[in-house]
């Protein structure tokens, strides 16, 4: 179970890296605007928020799953 959590964390970090780095990033690196705000700015703000939500879920959701599993075994 501990390893499982470790794997989840590492997967999450890779996903976040992808979100903020080279290939996907260039999609939004354009002079397009939503309202008056550049799309790149909006993309960064939104994906940062998404990252925060993922972090909250991964840290707070069912932290004691491990113990429950043990009980069921």
């Amino acid at each position: 179970m501990i390893n499982n959590k470790k794997q989840k964390n590492i997967t999450l970090s890779f996903l976040l890296m992808l979100l903020f780095c080279y290939p996907i990033f260039t999609i939004f690196n354009k002079k397009t605007f939503i309202g008056n705000i550049p799309i790149l700015y909006i993309y960064i703000a939104v994906s940062w928020l998404v990252a925060l939500i993922f972090l909250i879920i991964s840290a707070e959701a069912k932290p004691f799953k491990k113990h429950q599993k043990n009980k069921n075994e």
């Binding site: 959590k5 470790k6 964390n9 590492i10 999450l12 970090s13 976040l16 890296m17 903020f20 780095c21 080279y22 990033f25 260039t26 690196n29 354009k30 002079k31 605007f33 309202g35 008056n36 705000i37 550049p38 790149l40 700015y41 960064i44 940062w48 928020l49 990252a51 925060l52 993922f54 972090l55 909250i56 991964s58 840290a59 707070e60 932290p63």
Partner: protein
């Protein structure tokens, strides 16, 4: 604004910090630590946001657009790795009583003093300018607020000097309470967490003022900005290598958020419980997100307002409220920036002073023989004074740097240069906790080579830009060697200086680390430490795998500890430890090896692991262990630990098995009891007819002169009783067959109505004999059923015979057959004396009669209904009774009709 007001307010703010720190320590003494709290921990990590964030981000945003955010997105990504990486570092630190990042690296690589001092020196070089930057931020913001544009400062009239002195006093008071550097600095951490709140609020208020007070929201600012040509290039990231720069900044900040000395201090050393990480994982990135929301609006807003004025973009946060004549708001913003700067200075100074005193000053002092083997009560004071002087030394150095060097450099770059410097530790640390093969020489090479490249590619150009050395080196390379140009090393061009430096320094750093590790042999101590660091989860309790071998005497150890910790404390520590591990201590005999290791660890908390090792070995005679012996000990202890784990697992399994067995045993006992009761009933039932057969036979046997008619009557009775007996035995056998599952269903398709009709006609006669009326209610069509015909017939026979048995004369028995589509339902309704409600379930129980001797029981063997129940259930049907006493009974059973 009046200078006096600002100075007084700042001093008041510092006093407030004093109060908070004092309160925190007061609470701690009462046992109610306020830093033992996940939120305080997460806030203290906010020390990542310095004056560089507070003022500098805005400045960077005006020239690079959103690129500055990489510094805060990196930590957000890193937060997802806090659990695997930072938690492991925290565990190691606690288990090994490590007190700084230099101590961490040196402890991993064999508690080597050289490693510790090299890391300490590089930390000071890398971070000192960063502290100076904070002082500079205070100076500049102060000047702007007082509108003091005088360029020349008189040293004595320089307020920054006084702030620095004040801060030094603060840090000395709350930072050097105890000689044990692993003890938490409650007061300082509380103050830093408080400052995180202040700077956040101040910046947000300024942001709201600019966005909503001066402009009409985000859209308005961007709308106005889009009309200015200069801005349009900020809306995207431009340049062919912009992505590389962005990526490099993310990587740098990911590393910096853990390994900057101040981050290591608050994140690892001051961590009270590793569970606090759980909140910090999302709260800290959230903090970074919130504090950055208004950076772009302030940057763009400032640029729009100050278009044609010469206002430094780094100061827009402060300049905007001043420009719009909001003195109170300006004051608030100033205090926010002040708090960002001071919190960084406090933590960084503490971290650096621990390193400088433990790894640079103390080894020199303790290598002099006068401290060895003597009881010197002043050693504790000496250590504290060394720490205090280190703090002063660092702050003075930072002040001098700020006053005389910093103005040559641009502010903005200092932060990133520091980040890149600290990143040089990353391979040695990360490799150290995951790769057992990494050696001391590898780590030393990696750090030295990395720093050399860092110095060459970032510091030399800064110095050249400042015209301290000729800048021809930048254009033509040293000695005209073109491919050695510091900013285009080996001809790598087109990247910004940070990306360029990061690439080359990491390239050589990693290469040196791996190559030297592979081609050098570790000493036994290194092998042991590598094992403990990488497998910290196994060696959480390192005393178990103690590798110290040699001779040591208790009095020597005691006097050593007393020198550093005082008599009382060292006695307590040793005795508690001995008690916990069941070691008996004889004050005048040889010391247990575990006590020696423990003493070394305690000392490590005070003077660092490398010095502690030297001190302990000075009072003991240690036997050199060969590599093989270390491996053997490690292997054994690992086996022990695994064996323990295995044992624990097995014992849990055993407990579970025992529980199951107990349950099964209980079931068996009840079943056994039931079986006894059943046997009792059956034999009882068999004995009744047997007795009458025997007495009848005896009568006939003993009276040969009986009359023919009489004799026949008796013999007839014998036959009848025998029939009853064999009938009973058949029933018992049948029941046994059904119960054990030996009886297989012989399924055939047949017309159920036909079966009922047959039975009805045969039982009509029997009923007539007893003067009972029989009525049948059935559907008109045929009812095809797929079931065991013989068994179903038996059910009907049993129920009907029961009904006839219990129904008095002149009453009616009703048989009702109904087709319920998915099943057929048969009810047999008698007019007997009825069955009490509490018996409705029990009567279907084969043990019913035996178990309920006290209850008034109906006549019969008590097996008929049990057999019916079994048969119906074998067909997946149900059987039940509805009845009240004196009102007859209605027995109903259903058989699913799968063919329907």
């Amino acid at each position: 604004m009046s200078k006096a007001i600002i100075v007084v307010s700042s001093l008041l703010y510092l006093l407030l910090l004093f109060c908070i720190a004092y309160y925190a320590e007061y609470k701690q003494k009462q046992g109610k630590s306020i830093i033992n709290n996940a939120y305080v921990y997460a806030l203290s990590l906010g020390v990542f946001c310095t004056a560089w964030t507070y003022y500098g981000s805005v400045g960077r945003a005006t020239t690079n657009g959103i690129g500055f955010l990489a510094i805060y997105i990196g930590p957000t990504i890193m937060a997802s790795l806090f659990f695997p990486v930072l938690r492991k570092i925290i565990r190691i630190t606690k288990a090994q009583r490590i007190n700084s990042i230099a101590d961490f690296i040196s402890t991993r690589y064999g508690k080597n003093a050289t490693v510790a001092s090299v890391v300490s020196i590089f930390c000071v070089i890398g971070v000192l300018p960063y502290i100076a930057l904070q002082l500079k931020a205070i100076t500049i913001s102060f000047d702007i607020l007082t509108n003091n544009m005088a360029t020349s400062h008189n040293l004595l009239s320089d307020t920054t000097l006084y702030f620095t002195i004040f801060l030094a006093i603060f840090i000395i008071i709350f930072g050097t309470r105890s000689v044990d550097a692993t003890e938490k600095h409650e007061g300082l951490v509380a103050a830093v967490a408080f400052e995180s709140i202040i700077k956040l609020i101040a910046f947000l208020v300024a942001g709201v003022f600019v966005t909503c007070g001066i402009f009409n929201g985000f859209n308005d600012i961007f709308f106005k900005a889009s009309h200015i040509d200069e801005f349009t290039k900020l809306f995207t990231m431009e340049g062919e290598n912009a992505n590389a720069g962005w990526f490099a900044s993310i990587l740098l900040s990911m590393v910096a958020v853990m390994f900057l000395p101040r981050q290591f201090q608050v994140g690892v050393i001051e961590n009270v419980k590793e569970e606090h990480l759980k909140k910090a994982v999302w709260l800290f990135p959230l903090y970074l997100f919130v504090i950055n929301i208004f950076v772009i609006p302030i940057a763009f807003g400032g640029k729009i307002i100050f278009q044609n004025m010469s206002v430094d973009a780094d100061t827009y946060v402060l300049a905007l409220p001043l420009h719009f004549n909001k003195p109170l708001l300006s004051m608030m913003v100033f205090i926010g920036g002040f708090s960002a700067a001071t919190s960084m200075i406090i933590v960084e100074t503490i971290a650096l002073s621990t390193m400088v005193s433990n790894n640079l000053v103390m080894p020199i002092i303790f290598s002099q023989n006068k401290f060895k083997n003597t009881i010197d009560k002043s050693i504790q004071d000496t250590i504290l004074y060394i720490r205090r002087f280190s703090i002063l030394f660092i702050l003075i150095l930072a002040y001098i740097y700020d006053q005389f060097v910093a103005h040559y450099f641009s502010l903005v770059s200092i932060g990133l240069i520091s980040f890149t410097g600290v990143a040089q530790f990353a391979p040695a640390i990360i490799g150290g906790i995951y790769w057992k093969g990494a050696t001391q020489k590898g780590a030393l090479a990696s750090i030295i080579v990395g720093f050399a490249i860092w110095f060459y590619t970032l510091i030399i150009p800064s110095i050249a830009h400042a015209h301290i050395i000729s800048d021809s080196i930048l254009n033509n390379g040293p000695f005209e060697i073109f491919w050695l140009k510091p900013q285009a090393l080996f001809g790598l061009e087109g990247f910004d200086s940070i990306t360029h430096a990061l690439f080359w320094s990491m390239f050589f750093n990693l290469s040196a680390y791996i190559l030297f590790s592979i081609y050098s042999k570790p000493n036994p101590q290194e092998v042991y430490q590598a094992e403990v660091f990488v497998d910290i989860d196994i060696y959480q309790n390192p005393e178990k795998s103690n590798i110290w071998r040699g001779t040591a005497y208790m009095p020597d150890l005691y006097s050593l500890l007393e020198n550093f910790l005082g008599k009382e404390r060292s006695k307590n520590l040793i005795q508690n430890y001995a008690h916990r591990h069941k070691i008996s201590i004889d004050m005048h005999a040889k010391a247990d090896p575990r006590i020696v290791s423990f003493s070394e660890k305690i000392l490590a908390g005070v003077i660092g692991s490398s010095s502690a090792r030297i001190m302990v070995s000075s009072v003991t005679k240690e036997e050199e262990l060969s590599l093989n012996e270390v491996f053997k000990i490690l292997h054994e202890s690992q086996q022990m630990i695994e064996l323990n784990k295995e044992l624990r697992k097995k014992s849990i399994e055993l407990t579970k098995a025992t529980d199951l067995l107990k349950e099964a045993n209980l079931q068996l006992t009840t079943m056994d009891e039931l079986k006894d009761e059943f046997l009792y009933t059956v034999t009882h039932e068999i004995r009744t007819p047997l007795t009458s057969i025997r007495s009848l036979a005896e009568i006939v046997h003993e009276n040969p002169n009986l009359e023919e008619a009489e004799r026949n009557k008796f013999l007839g009775a014998v036959v009848k009783e025998s029939e009853r007996l064999s009938h009973l035995i058949t029933k018992v056998l049948n029941l046994e067959k059904y119960e054990s599952g030996k009886q297989k269903l012989n399924l055939t398709s047949f017309n159920f109505i036909e079966l009922v009709n047959d039975l009805y006609s045969s039982y009509e006669l029997i009923a007539k004999d007893k003067k009972i009326k029989l009525s049948l209610q059935k559907p008109n069509s045929m009812l095809l059923l797929h079931a065991d015909k013989d068994l179903l017939q038996q059910v009907l026979v049993n129920l009907l015979s029961n009904a006839i048995k219990f129904t008095p004369e002149d009453k009616t028995i009703q048989i009702v057959v109904s087709d319920m589509q998915t099943e057929i339902q048969v009810s047999i309704i008698d007019a007997g004396k009825g069955i009490a409600l509490e018996l409705h379930e029990l009567i279907f129980d084969k043990f019913f009669q035996a178990k309920n001797q006290t209850i008034k029981k109906p006549e019969g063997t008590g097996l008929g209904l049990a057999i019916c129940k079994r048969i119906v259930e074998m067909h997946n049907g149900k059987i039940w009774v509805e009845s009240e006493v004196e009102k007859g009974a209605r027995f109903t059973f259903t058989i699913p009709n799968f063919e329907a």
